[in-house]
Symmetry: C2
Subunit: 261 residues, 2 copies
């Protein structure tokens, strides 16, 4: 099995190294990861400047550091750096959870998403602690999960967003398949003055979870369970289509109106 491994905390992050060790037991792992931290880059790609890929000797397999986002890393890895198309793209282990709305901002999820866009089954893995993360169980679990998803038939249009409690194995209570919960950031910008008296704004990160349903990723982590959420690419809100179609006669009227002018 061939695995392309990426992340958004940079190629030098501990979570990547721990996951590399675990996955190397079951597959040939090639690392293509950002040369510096690229958290909260969303699904950004680099189009206005060239990308560089430096071979690095951090791992005993092949590894490249790229001056781009996680999505860039996967795109460049699959198209230019790897000899063969990988069987799986794995992104992580992220330092800190990626729950609910986080997935829209997450570079880790974006790395996996790019794999899926390229037609490759993909998993994003995060450990639910920023301060003092314990990556060991997350790495172990991912090693067990990867071969199994390859046997399923949904992995061609769905990635798995996995969040693991930062706990030793004996304290983890189980595994739950979840939906994305509803969390909200307080968006508290700190407004400061620079040494020359000009204002600047720095985004804080306080979060509140609005959703107590046990079937959410947020609840699973709170209950010390591994959360697996299936994520797909199609953002269409099909239920809204019919409601919108009711507006059509009026909108079509605008088109006609404009022609009369």
């Amino acid at each position: 099995m061939q695995i392309l491994l990426t992340n958004d905390d940079s190629i030098y992050a501990e979570g990547l190294a721990v996951l590399w060790s675990a996955l190397s037991e079951i597959a040939e792992v090639t690392v293509v990861a950002p040369d510096r931290e690229r958290s909260a880059t969303g699904h950004g790609i680099t189009v206005d400047q060239p990308l560089r890929a430096e071979r690095v000797s951090l791992f005993s397999g092949a590894a490249w550091a790229v001056n781009g986002t996680p999505a860039d890393c996967v795109k460049l890895g699959v198209n230019c750096l790897l000899k063969d198309k990988p069987d799986v793209v794995v992104a992580g282990i992220n330092r800190g959870p990626n729950l609910g709305i986080d997935v829209l901002y997450s570079g880790t999820v974006s790395g996996a998403l790019e794999g899926l866009i390229l037609g490759i089954p993909a998993i994003a893995v995060s450990v639910a602690d920023y301060a003092n993360p314990d990556y060991r169980y997350a790495a172990y679990f991912t090693k067990k999960l990867v071969p199994r998803i390859l046997e399923t038939d949904f992995c061609t249009d769905t990635l798995l967003n996995v969040n693991v409690p930062s706990l030793p194995a004996e304290e983890i209570r189980g595994v739950r398949i979840t939906r994305l919960g509803n969390r909200k950031y307080l968006n508290s910008f700190e407004v400061r003055k620079d040494p020359r008296g000009k204002l600047y704004y720095w985004l804080g990160g306080d979060v509140i979870d609005l959703d107590d349903d046990p079937d959410t990723d947020v609840a699973a982590i709170r209950e010390k369970m591994v959360s697996i959420t299936p994520i797909h690419i199609d953002l269409t809100n099909y239920r809204a289509i019919r409601a919108l179609e009711k507006l059509l006669p009026d909108l079509e009227g605008e088109v006609l109106f404009s022609k009369e002018n």
Copy 2:
């Protein structure tokens, strides 16, 4: 009515100016937009450095240029720059279409998405031509659309992604409510050598549309119609949840197994 207007082509882009003029006829418009082009930034936000907001006198209303992404602009605008919460966030007019998978990469859509996350109805508007875009009908249509979506009840969890043909009004055939189509980028990186002989990679942009269904955004634009696609935030693939739950007994076994070790 208060409108927050942003884009990803920069505050100096023609599409923004044309849309400002149209929307100013129906609302008080505040511009908060990137100080340089921020295309393909996805839903990235800036967390690792401070943001600056410069008052600019491009428009006769209030306008700020921000050294961040479209999502940064909306977050900062709503939280720090505008006196009142706006009634609508409008992003655009983007130079070039945002169809199908484009919405995952699009800074324009991301600006609207951030409005929605903050609880504000939002519209992203793009004109379907890069080379020689005609923004006039897109601006006119948006001016007519904004008041109507405020009367609907889906605009609290759904943004509208609007693509408009780059044509004069009399050549536009109508309006269609669509789903996101299936388009694929060829991901042709050009591999070049720099003056010092080192390789670099630059992403090309050739796209193929794989989906001929008339209900897609891609088809609507091809048929010279305005496309409106409802987009929501919840990326959960609910249909995959049940399939995944079949894996649970085995995965739970892994948890137990690990405890024995």
